[in-house]
């Protein structure tokens, strides 16, 4: 193969590193005004009145409230519970209440500060543990957005009981480019939205409902990272920009400041996972019961799907004859949580892996041995009754162990380290991750793509976006390989909903595996169409081109066809939850300062079953970036909130993500166990690197210091606090 399995340079790379790529804030439409958002200062209150400060000069300022919405006041997604602008009542701090626009950004921000809102406070519910059955109603009958129970097998009568409770915190996506959007009028009295986003068709759907008509199109600007944070939230900022544009009668740009972005937009769901298992004396799992509670925040957003994916990964990659899983995602008066790389799975996999370590500890066996014994193999059956094939669990475990035998890199002394007392530890964790949408999701989505032959070039038309992961380069490679042509003859069309079909959202580790397969089929059809048109049976693309007698553009379309053998019952939660799974094993070596609890990463070794690496350089980039994001979540990243849910760590100096010097040496091995339904065998890899590392870090700290950490993030403060607890327990 000439174009597959090769690390060809990414098509968007040069423009990005030379600063030539055009992001939304680089666009300056003529006469464009700037928008700002007036946000709620309380978590739950009735809005008594909204007034303009009479002392402020309101010349050249427009104000928008819920009354200005031409269609429905809703951000349409799964349910319609979230308003575009609070109307009568606010349900979380930072909820948008009003909007302003002015000729300059500073003036818009100033004006927003001079919109006065009078509130009548209402009772506030912030603790998710208090949500179900609380007299304070936020959502439905009992504050539950979604509850799921799955059972399989009969409970065993004997076995040793091992119980554990695990907690994970919020996480902020911290894409480099904050949320941003421009709305401008079209000649047909419709609107065009251009912005930083992952899913143009989600925004389109929301805007149609808001505007009450469908004269709207959505264009993706170059996007500086998403990680799920630009899956659902762009619909909100797009709705706001659209309303301001209508009221001001001119283009309006909204760019969030970093602090506003961190305070107001979605985060990873915090979760509490309680696990009770029964194990045989040799360590074999007999029963696994998990109860999961996630904090959804004030509105539904994507929470039902997050709890679902969390549940479906809550056993970890281990076979067990009896499994009972129950999970609920509940409402609180907090800013809504939403999509973040991993989408519920990192939360439950952290708990599952810590629980495997707990079993090993209580049985006096090695964590590695316990894992080897229980790991899923081909033919094993999951909690939903899915028989697994193409299982890479054992392969990635042995590959990672082999790679970790290499000597560790030397420690470079850091300035200001003084007499730090480092203790070393190693931890291991495994993960599996379902690729693509859950259950019938892909059948329901019907992801489409098209290929157009124009001027001897092939143009890929897809709504699947480039968000830094390399999707455009991958699609280009797939088409070039399928047609046997060079990469420079393939281009990816601009992501404008007026021009490209709906490929489904750019989420769920589905872009390469699912949309890539659709793109591959459009290329096959292109060849067939050329053969039909020319009457030639040649497979050679240039021969077919030369045989054409017309020069008209040619287009082929395709819609995703899920494997007909996959069966899923949405009501009973049984059947094939995912077309296939990715598998990963991570081994972290770290030092932790026993005086301060500060962790320094030495090396992160991983082996991941990617099915087939279309572009190994991009695949490794995804895996290493994801691992670093997970290591940050493990020890650095803490969303600090006050008692009404307002985020206080709202800047990059207070919400701490790792820098390059905090990064360990990364050793990344690709294992390729192909999935027949993916292009050239590819599985999805976007999320799996987020799943395992935090548990490996906890295990490594445990080895280094002898303290058991079952709560994320493991900040220095928490490590030291746990050491204090361990010390006081030992002295009694």
């Amino acid at each position: 193969m000439k174009n597959i399995g090769i690390g060809v340079p990414r098509g968007d790379g040069v423009a990005k590193v030379t600063g030539k790529a055009i992001y939304v804030d680089d666009l300056h439409p003529d006469g464009c005004w700037h928008g700002a958002t007036v946000r709620a200062s309380c978590a739950h209150a009735r809005i008594v009145k909204i007034e303009r400060d009479p002392a402020f000069d309101w010349t050249d300022v427009v104000i928008v409230t819920a009354r200005d919405i031409p269609g429905e006041n809703v951000i349409a997604l799964i349910t319609d519970d979230q308003p575009c602008l609070a109307d009568g009542v606010v349900r979380h701090v930072e909820e948008a209440v009003a909007l302003v626009a002015a000729p300059e950004r500073e003036r818009a921000l100033d004006a927003a500060r001079h919109v006065r809102i009078t509130y009548e406070p209402l009772p506030v519910l912030i603790d998710p543990e208090q949500s179900i059955g609380s007299p304070i109603r936020i959502y439905g009958e009992n504050n539950v957005f979604k509850q799921i129970t799955i059972r399989r097998g009969d409970p065993p009568t004997v076995g040793r009981v091992v119980r554990g409770v695990y907690h994970v915190g919020h996480q902020e996506q911290l894409y480099l480019e904050p949320q941003g959007m421009i709305a401008s009028a079209r000649t047909d009295a419709g609107l065009t939205l251009i912005g930083s986003l992952q899913c143009p068709y989600y925004v389109l759907k929301a805007l149609k409902r808001l505007l009450g008509h469908d004269r709207v199109n959505v264009v993706q600007a170059t996007t500086g990272g998403g990680f799920g944070g630009k899956e659902d939230y762009p619909s909100m900022i797009a709705a706001h920009a659209a309303l301001l544009c209508l009221k001001a009668g001119r283009p309006v740009k909204m760019i969030y400041r970093r602090d506003e972005d961190i305070r107001a937009t979605t985060k990873r769901h915090p979760a509490r996972v309680s696990i009770e298992s029964l194990v045989a004396p040799d360590g074999r799992l007999l029963s696994w019961k998990a109860d999961i509670l996630m904090d959804g925040g004030a509105y539904n957003t994507l929470s039902p799907v997050v709890i679902s994916r969390g549940l479906l990964h809550a056993t970890g990659p281990y076979a067990c004859p009896h499994v009972e899983l129950s999970g609920a995602v509940v409402a609180t008066h907090s800013p809504p949580n939403g999509a973040f790389r991993g989408f519920g799975a990192p939360q439950t996999l952290f708990a599952a892996e810590r629980h495997m370590d707990r079993i090993a500890r209580e049985l006096g066996r090695s964590p590695l041995e316990i894992r080897r014994l229980n790991l899923y193999r081909d033919g094993d059956v999951t909690v939903t009754g899915q028989t697994l094939y193409d299982v890479g669990g054992a392969a990635v475990l042995e590959e990672a162990l082999a790679a970790a035998e290499a000597p560790l890199p030397a420690v470079a002394a850091q300035p200001g380290e003084g007499g730090a007392s480092w203790r070393s530890g190693r931890g291991l964790a495994l993960a599996f991750h379902g690729c693509g949408f859950t259950g019938n999701g892909e059948a329901w989505l019907k992801g489409k793509a098209a290929l157009e032959l124009r001027d001897s070039k092939l143009h890929i038309l897809t709504g699947a976006t480039e968000i830094g992961q390399g999707a455009e380069t991958i699609f280009t490679q797939i088409v070039a390989e399928e047609l046997g042509i060079s990469l420079d003859r393939v281009e990816v069309a601009r992501h404008d909903t007026a021009e490209v079909p709906d490929s489904g959202p750019t989420v769920a580790s589905r872009t390469t595996m699912v949309v890539g397969a659709v793109v591959q089929e459009t290329a096959r059809r292109m060849r067939a169409a050329l053969q039909a048109e020319t009457g030639s049976t040649s497979r050679d693309f240039d021969t077919l081109l030369a045989a054409r007698t017309v020069d008209s553009p040619l287009r082929t379309d395709h819609t995703y066809e899920p494997d007909p053998n996959l069966v899923w019952d949405e009501h009973r939660y049984s059947g094939d939850a995912y077309p296939t799974f990715g598998w990963s094993c991570g081994i972290v070596d770290l030092d932790v300062d026993e005086d301060t609890g500060v962790v320094r990463y030495r090396r992160f070794v991983s082996a991941t079953d990617v099915g087939r690496a279309i572009n190994p350089v991009l695949a490794i980039g995804q895996l290493e970036g994801g691992a670093l994001q997970a290591l940050g979540w493990a020890t650095l990243e803490e969303v600090v909130r006050d008692d009404v849910g307002r985020v206080r760590s709202d800047r990059v100096t207070t919400y701490i993500i790792p820098t390059s010097v905090d990064s360990p040496q990364m050793v990344t091995r690709l294992v390729e166990i192909p999935y027949a339904g993916g292009p050239f065998g590819a599985k999805g890899i976007g999320e799996i690197p987020m799943d395992g590392p935090a548990a490996a870090v906890a295990a490594a700290i445990e080895e280094a210091l002898g303290v058991v950490l079952d709560r994320l993030p493991m900040t220095p403060e928490r490590v030291v606090a746990e050491m204090n607890v361990a010390l006081s327990e030992r002295s009694f």
Partner: protein
Amino acid sequence: MSGPAPTYGGAVVTARDLPEALALRAQFPEAVVLAGGTDLMVMMEAGQLRPGRVLNLWGCAGLRTISEDGGHFGALATWTDVARHPAVHPALRECARTVGALQIQNRGTVGGNIVNASPAGDSLPLWLALDAVFEVASLRGARRIAAADFWVGYRRTALAPDELLTGVTVAPAGADAVLYRKVGTRLAQAISKVVVGARIRQVEGTVTEARIALGSVGPVPLRARRVEALLVERGLDPDAADAVVDDIAPIDDVRSTAVWRRQVAQRVLRRWLVEQRAFSARNARQ
């Protein structure tokens, strides 16, 4: 499509040398002073500061020099200048390399760190430990202020409105044991959560002078006077570190907790004292 990026709307006055700087300072005592700008830009971007006027000193090249013996610093010496100067005390050079990251070290200045007066300022405890003297000047004349008298309250200094910091002098530390320790959450671009500068002088096995200073553990960088007194009284006794918890007044904030800061301050000092005692014992045997 065209249009400019937003720019700073206030006035900027720029000085080329010290006399010009002092004249402008006298004329505009309300102006916010810009040295390297590494704190100022962050505060302006965060909306915490919207100065009507900025006095830009960055071009005053004469204030950037470090003396050949490494004992005198112009206020505009950058952290890169400090880190690269071979005669500067190793603890100060080490400190310089903990400030922000390379880009910040290229712009951030000694004087900016001192006058910004953040309780978390990376270098401040070290100036206290080294008995630094700050040279300040105005059109009215020049004067010297000991580091221990400079930070008078949360983000407040002893500078008069018309005064500028022009330089810093540190006494030679000779064979004194000097510690610089910065505990942040990550290795670069980190604001200290506990920062320690310490110096102990021994004459024939007796502690004659102890300076133990800490930052991020109170409203100002401060000296742990109880620990200092115990060290002079008892010699290199690691237990003296325990007294630090009464010398400092840390708080819970968005970065850390008071409990952790107290414990870390005590442990960092204790470990250093244990090391110094062992080192002294080895020297005494030789």
